[in-house]
Symmetry: C2
Subunit: 397 residues, 2 copies
């Protein structure tokens, strides 16, 4: 019954995936799971913040009350009450957001994939920050866009640069709050200017906001979707405020776009787990996040401060880093002659890890940069790891 | 802060999604949720078969023992013990399957999307059955293939037709067990001949097998992956043997392909819920499926028999239908002059629903066909619904 001498297949992959590689970060993470490594490389939230008991109680409640519904196929657009919850929460920003504008996704990574699938043809112009979130670049690159990098400074991307390069772009992708990888915050004035620039060009502005709730200061800055709900596409996630392993995010878009995204999602995975959506709704419906999120902010703010102090103590002159006002990351700029990719090899030999900055650039990489996460490493280990890294860098300057 | 008179965006969608529409089936399902409608339109498994208590106990156990791990980001390829379980189970067919060949997916719909994303360029030749699974056509069509329809008869697709049309095809997609939509089974001889034909052409053979375990007879027929593991890509799912709402499937492929699929999955949704994978493993690891699956088979076999008897009693001469040996569907062929899409409107007016056959054809539709599912409708309702439908058809012949 077996074919005689079947020749091994000569795999012919589609052009769109020939350049595709595994994420540098995920490869580094595989190396750095050794317990002796102090790793600032992760993009993982701290498991200390996971509300395990609440999730457990909610799974129990949902399966007891509505098990057969939760375990059956569900609608592609998502679980109705959760979509309403998202719309209500976003509507607090002043502009009315309808539940029909909300599409639940399998993590916000899926929203990135669907957006590019629906908006980007081969060669389409796509505007991104310099540097930009690696997961977005990975998702978009499959659809073979032409990237245009928007210059940035300490206040985030520079909206004044957009009109000159944004004509006919299919989308502009921005992460305004505590950006991954830089930790920078886009100022209020720039938010307004960016919304205005995109509206003038008729270019959809993608506002990716996984960390917005993790502000260390008082009130978070206004969301761009609230400034122009017909021109901004908002992406949110439960990964950083609840737990990432369940893979639950959402995208909020004007109706013509969200309908097309829903069709694309139907072809991509039918729908996101009903059970997961019902359980998350069960956990959050009575205001749990309002008590829970401040505990995450407090933890991350403390560890951010420890890292900043350690950087000040141990890193030599000529090295600079960002001062995050929320989120999970600090971005370090080394003297120009130090290549952080090469530095990583030496650092790992000394049991400390980070993510080199080059992969975060869509066009011209700045290879003297690196990303540090401070949220999963306890304070004494942050000090130790930064001391080791500082000593290593001092041998180079 | 709001832009002045922002013009509404003129949405420019990517070419690949311009033809994309919501699935006909999902649109029909929206109509037929009214409780007075007897719906044979669903592709849903019977919720009576969902092991709610076992799932509940497993969520409790996993979250109690390993909550922080289950709720954290996980590996893209999937939960190790579950990948081993899949590899072991498939290896029973005689050919050794390695856990490294298994990629866990967000339902098997995602495997369809990833396969086309990785293998299909615009205009690539893709071979499908006549008719073929609608969800596969939806997933593939996004990547703009050129479809070649393989002729079929009562024993499934005709392998002898493949060499003439299969040259340079990027994949051949087949659903050999109790096919969706026809309920047909590909004979053993044809499986061997198909594997042979694909191996000679060097064309990857996609074996989609969501219903394989739901055989009403003794032993299921051998899997094609066991005949040539280097040339066959196998797709499995927990949707029909456990529960669909959790969205868990898998694809098993030769290493060069599975590695590319993993990279594409990383860009598409990072990974499938860790928690769900750990819970499913907890439920099935000690042989639960060996007791559970026979209860599903028994229920579906009984209802299949009820439907066949009702069709015999109520449908007029000139109408034929398939005799499924497993799975969830019967396929009806009406006299040529009856268009089942038009028939559906009249049927819904009489509170009975089915899925018209035309959307299942990649090239030339046969509009006098329709699909009936018998698994979610109780026996007395099957008889009543088929009687109504038969009376309606009698007015047309």
């Amino acid at each position: 019954m077996k074919p005689e001498n079947p020749a091994p297949i000569q795999w012919h992959f589609a052009q769109r995936v020939q350049q595709l590689q595994s994420s540098v970060i995920r490869e580094i993470l595989k190396i750095t799971v050794r317990p002796e490594v102090i790793s600032f490389a992760g993009g993982l939230p701290s498991p200390a913040t996971f509300p395990v008991a609440q999730m457990q109680a909610a799974f129990d409640a949902v399966l007891s009350r509505q098990g057969k519904v939760a375990l059956q196929y569900g609608p592609t657009d998502g679980y109705g009450p959760l979509r309403e919850w998202v719309a209500d929460r976003l509507s607090r920003g002043g502009a009315k957001i309808l539940p029909e504008q909300v599409l639940m996704t399998s993590g916000s990574q899926q929203a990135l994939d669907l957006l590019a699938k629906v908006l980007v043809d081969e060669g389409s112009k796509v505007l991104v920050e310099t540097p930009s979130y690696l997961g977005a670049l990975q998702a978009f690159s499959v659809y073979q866009p032409q990237y245009m990098s928007i210059p940035t400074d300490e206040d985030g991307l520079i909206p004044e640069a957009v009109p000159a390069i944004g004509q006919d772009a299919r989308l502009l992708y921005a992460l305004p709050n505590f950006q991954n990888p830089t930790g920078r915050t886009l100022s209020v004035e720039r938010r307004a200017a960016l919304v205005e620039a995109c509206a003038r060009l008729g270019v959809p502005l993608i506002e990716d906001d996984p960390y917005g709730e993790l502000s260390y200061r008082a009130a978070p800055l206004p969301r761009m979707i609230s400034m122009n709900p017909q021109g901004v596409v908002y992406m949110g996630s439960f990964s950083k405020v609840l737990t990432p392993g369940i893979r639950l995010g959402y995208v909020v878009a004007p109706l013509p776009l969200v309908q097309k995204l829903e069709q694309a999602k139907q072809a991509a995975d039918l729908h996101t787990s009903q059970l997961t959506q019902m359980v998350v709704y069960e956990v959050i419906k009575d205001g749990f996040l309002d008590q829970h999120i401040p505990t995450i902010r407090k933890l991350y703010a403390e560890q951010c401060q420890v890292m900043d102090a350690a950087l000040t103590e141990h890193f030599p002159a000529g090295v600079t880093w960002t001062k995050p006002e929320g989120g999970m990351f600090t971005w370090v700029t080394l003297p120009k002659h130090i290549d952080s990719m090469k530095l990583l090899d030496e650092a790992i030999a000394q049991n400390v890890a980070f993510v080199p900055g080059a992969p975060f650039y869509a066009n011209v990489p700045e290879s003297n940069t690196l990303r540090l996460s401070f949220v999963t490493v306890p304070p004494e280990k942050i000090r130790e790891g930064i001391a080791r890294l500082g000593a290593l860098i001092k041998t180079k300057v």
